[in-house]
């Protein structure tokens, strides 16, 4: 009996997932990133299980779930940052504009340039602000000082940081406040002209006011970029995202419109998480 019910449950879940992907499929064809049966192991630890997800262009998609559910690991798959970790094994596909990122011939560095990332802890390099801003263009062979300056100014402006730092570009980036540092990191990510921005709990180490500024910035960025944000903070997901994916123990449980997920979750697990019964 027990076995049967659990099997039924599984079936239901699989059907549900198919529904999800169909739903998103039907809702439009401007998909920038799509994962197909994505599985990931750290040594023997099965961290991501058969993830099928589609991310829409110029939208903010939030990935939520309790700690250790694999949400950070998932977005690190999109720019292949997991390659750096020893003992990491990946199966399945991640399609970026229709091309598999894990293809043998894929240019990892070019794709990383196109898919920028913001990390949990602000990590400006311990150099001057301007050096932080020109680092990216320089490694991609932009050498003209005038161009570099222009890029820096443009991106700092977009990250709403220019007015605060334009008179002290030569100072160490470490002298900025935490929120400023994170905005600098966003500006730095923009400096190599990405199409997508991955954000791994970008406000986790910031105070509420700095968090609010970053959130406003993310909403602003949506017009030109696709944003995928991992967050611990459910209110944040509800506030800023268009779509929300809920993950639990390495599986995608539910994916849909943010309003739908928060108001009418279809899965019991999602409901329990959102209403704070665990997490």
């Amino acid at each position: 009996m027990v076995l049967n019910t659990s099997r039924n449950k599984e079936k239901n879940e699989i059907e549900e997932k198919n529904n999800i992907s169909q739903k998103i499929n039907n809702s439009g064809d401007d998909i920038v990133i799509e994962t197909v049966k994505l599985n990931l192991w750290y040594d023997d630890n099965h961290v991501l299980k058969d993830i099928n997800l589609k991310f829409k262009k110029n939208k903010i998609t939030a990935i939520i779930g309790p700690s250790g559910c694999g949400k950070s690991t998932l977005i690190r798959c999109f720019n292949r940052m997991n390659d750096v970790i020893e003992g990491c094994k990946i199966e399945g596909k991640v399609l970026f504009n229709g091309e598999n990122l894990y293809d043998k011939n894929a240019d990892v560095r070019l794709n990383r340039k196109k898919i920028g990332m913001i990390f949990q802890k602000p990590n400006p390099f311990p150099m001057s602000i301007i050096d932080n801003m020109t680092y990216g263009p320089k490694i991609h062979k932009v050498e003209d000082p005038k161009t570099l300056e222009k890029i820096a100014e443009k991106c700092l402006n977009r990250a709403v940081l220019w007015d605060e730092v334009n008179d002290r570009l030569e100072e160490s980036a470490m002298s900025l406040s935490g929120g400023q540092q994170q905005r600098l990191c966003i500006a730095r990510a923009l400096s190599v002209e990405p199409e997508i921005l991955l954000m791994d709990e970008p406000t986790a180490s910031l105070d509420p006011i700095a968090t609010q500024k970053i959130e406003e910035l993310i909403l602003e960025l949506k017009h030109e970029w696709t944003v995928i944000i991992v967050t611990h903070n459910m209110q944040q997901a509800a506030r800023i995202s268009d779509y929300t994916a809920f993950m639990y123990l390495g599986e995608l449980i539910e994916y849909g419109d943010t309003t739908q997920i928060f108001e009418k979750p279809q899965q019991k697990l999602t409901e329990n998480y959102i209403t704070g019964r665990f997490g």
Binding site: R109, I139, E171
Partner: protein, 665 residues
């Protein structure tokens, strides 16, 4: 029932006397403080002793004559130390130029590129290199390197600047590699992630993010390597020829040359107590001491700045100061813009000039043009090819480092084995000045000196270490004590030798007529390893988690009870590891025992503290320097010495590993 409980209660009340315990705590604290201060007092004694002898010397010979005079001939009354001081810098400079690129490349390979297994092998090789006693390097230098270079360049002899720099480069390599590696590892992974996430290659990340972030640590590594090279005595006494002249031209690597340490080491033996010749050598010691003191202070400042770098605003203030004048801003902007060009130009000019003095203008220009071409050629390469190019260079450098270790070890083993396998080599007395017979008295002497010195150092070092970690408040006195200990740590062994003679040998001779003695040697060596013991004790005790202490205090124990019953037992493996490492260092030292404990004529075993002894290191020095035709036995002695030292290091390694595995917190 009721009576039993009351009995127990009574039992407790009688035993528990908190006030007495508190008093004892205070007494113990004072006692430990005295021990901790002793180390500092020794530093001050060394400084006072050096400068008092120096002052009387400079009363007779003007300072300017000493520093700028070019003629050094003490027995004839000429005390111009300029060739020696310049020589010291030249040899050190040559060593650093070789060792820094090699060491940095090896460190990058170990920290960033190598797979874990290869990393272990490399680290082990570097540690072995650090463990080889300096006299063994000297032996290798004079027997192999000098002859090899002589034949390679077709010279009449190989005692020259180049040999000295090469040997010193190898000797300072371990310091540079390990400090650089630590600095590179200290760079948080966050920065690497950020760089990779923007599409940088591994090499771009290393070159543009990791190395700039680690630059202060790398600077400290270079400075510490210089300190190591400057203070080296025994190898220099053997390989550089010790002519107090300027190389002609000044870049002539084949010139015979002298350094401060070798001049003291070779000259001090025959001088008479208090004579002007002796005091002139002590004056040289002052110069060396001041140089190493500056180096220590500088590297300490830099290393403490690293910690601030990743957290706070180091640069901020400086910028504001400079902003006062527009001229400065412009100058700075000009420098910022052309920084790369200026530094590269200067380096290129230097290389060109050196080449010019060697091979003439035409070839020098050609080579420089070739270099410029090569730099631009590399820049034109695609990022992937650039990465491949630099990774190849780093790999080759690392392989070369391992090759050096292999070369030295195999040379010693191959040449030492015949003597080693001779019947009685380890159990016989030396005959014919050491050419024949065995090395038993030297082995016994080395053991006596090593055990004695470690006993002395533990006696003073452990209480001092415990005081510093458990009781010391971070105030001025603690700072002074720490600075004293650190500086004692960086002081060259030849300075300890001078101190040992004047402070232990002479007073003991005046008082009891002992002359050189085992006791004086033990005290000198013990003083030398004292700072290491203090530091390792401090670190080991600090590593014990705070809850252990709190758990003990919460039961009503006194502070000292908690420390003595809980903390120290848990810290013992760490302390033992440090002690065994120090024993290895003590067994491999020559300079401190050369004038204090060893006599060339002591060929027999003595178990008396007041008799002179023979030590393996000094025996090896005599066989490779003074006694001709003793290659076989010298190599055997080198092998024996190497074995003792490496076995001690091996033991320390095993203890550390087992302890790490067993550790349960």
């Amino acid at each position: 029932m009721a009576s039993e409980t009351s009995l127990e209660e009574k039992f407790f009340i009688e035993q528990f006397k908190p006030i007495e315990l508190k008093d004892r705590d205070k007494q113990i604290k004072i006692l430990l403080f005295v021990f901790a201060s002793l180390a500092t007092i020794f530093v001050f004694l060394i400084i006072v002793f050096l400068f008092s002898s120096g002052l009387s010397f400079f009363g007779e010979v003007p300072l300017t004559d000493f520093l700028f005079g070019t003629n050094w001939y003490p027995s004839a009354g000429f005390f111009g130390a300029a060739p020696i001081i310049i020589g010291t810098f030249l040899v050190t400079f040559g060593a650093i130029i070789i060792a820094v690129p090699l060491g940095l490349a090896t460190a990058i390979f170990i920290a960033e590129i190598a797979p874990p297994k290869i990393r272990k092998i490399l680290k082990l090789s570097v540690e072995i290199l650090a463990g080889i006693p300096s006299i063994v390097y000297g032996f290798f230098g004079i027997m192999f390197l000098n002859r090899f270079l002589r034949d390679l360049f077709g010279l009449s002899h190989g005692n020259m600047w180049l040999s000295g720099s090469l040997i010193l480069a190898v000797m300072s390599l371990p310091t540079i590699v390990s400090v650089c590696e630590d600095a590179i590892r200290a760079v948080p992974n966050l920065y690497r992630d950020a760089s990779y996430a923007m599409g940088a290659t591994k090499w771009q990340t290393i070159r543009k993010v990791v190395l700039p972030a680690a630059i202060s640590g790398i600077t400290a590594a270079i400075i510490l390597g210089m300190g190591r090279a400057l203070g080296e005595t025994m190898a220099m006494m053997l390989v550089i020829g010790n002519c107090k002249i300027f190389p002609e031209p000044i870049t002539n690597l084949f010139s015979c040359i002298a350094v401060i340490t070798s001049t003291i080491g070779l000259g001090f033996g025959p001088t008479e107590k208090g004579s002007i010749e002796q005091r002139s050598l002590i004056a040289l010691g002052i110069v060396l001491f001041i140089i190493t003191l500056l180096i220590n202070i500088l590297s300490n400042i830099i290393l403490t700045r690293i910690k601030k770098k990743f957290t706070g605003d180091v640069k901020k203030r400086r910028v504001k100061k400079l902003q006062k004048s527009i001229f400065f801003i412009e100058l700075k902007q000009f420098y910022q813009r052309y920084k790369k060009l200026i530094t590269r130009g200067l380096i290129l000019f230097f290389i060109g000039w050196v080449l010019y003095t060697w091979i003439g203008l035409l070839y020098s220009l050609l080579i420089c043009l070739g270099l410029i071409g090569a730099i631009y050629g590399i820049k034109r390469l695609s990022t992937v090819h650039q990465q491949r190019f630099w990774h190849t260079i780093i790999l080759v450098s690392s392989i070369f480092s391992v090759f050096i270790v292999g070369l030295i070890i195999s040379y010693i083993v191959i040449n030492g084995l015949p003597a080693f396998l001779k019947p009685g080599f380890l159990t016989d007395y030396p005959r014919d000045a050491g050419r024949e017979g065995g090395i038993l008295p030297a082995i016994i002497g080395t053991l006596q000196l090593t055990l004695g010195s470690i006993a002395f150092a533990l006696l003073f070092g452990i209480p001092a270490g415990i005081y510093l970690s458990e009781y010391a408040k971070e105030n001025k006195i603690t700072k002074i004590i720490r600075a004293g200990i650190d500086n004692l740590n960086g002081t060259p062994s030849i300075v300890f030798a001078l101190f040992g003679v004047v402070f232990f040998v002479y007073p003991l001779t005046t008082a009891f007529g002992w002359g050189r003695s085992l006791l004086a040697g033990i005290l000198t060596l013990g003083l030398m390893i004292l700072p290491t013991i203090i530091r390792t004790t401090e670190e080991a005790v600090k590593a014990i988690p705070q809850p252990f202490r709190e758990g003990s205090l919460a039961l009503g124990s006194s502070k000292w009870q908690g420390i003595s019953k809980i903390v120290i037992p848990a810290a013992i493996p760490g302390i033992v590891t440090g002690s065994v490492l120090s024993m290895g260092r003590s067994a491999g030292e020559t300079a401190p025992v050369m004038f204090t404990a060893c006599l060339a004529s002591s060929r027999f075993i003595s178990f008396s503290l007041i008799e002179p002894v023979m030590a393996l290191t000094y025996h090896l020095y005599r066989l490779s320097g003074d006694v001709a035709g003793a290659l076989e036995n010298a190599a055997g002695t080198a092998l024996a010495l190497l074995l003792i030292v490496l076995i001690l290091y091996g033991i320390a390694f095993v203890i550390r590993n087992r302890y790490e595995k067993k550790k349960q917190w």
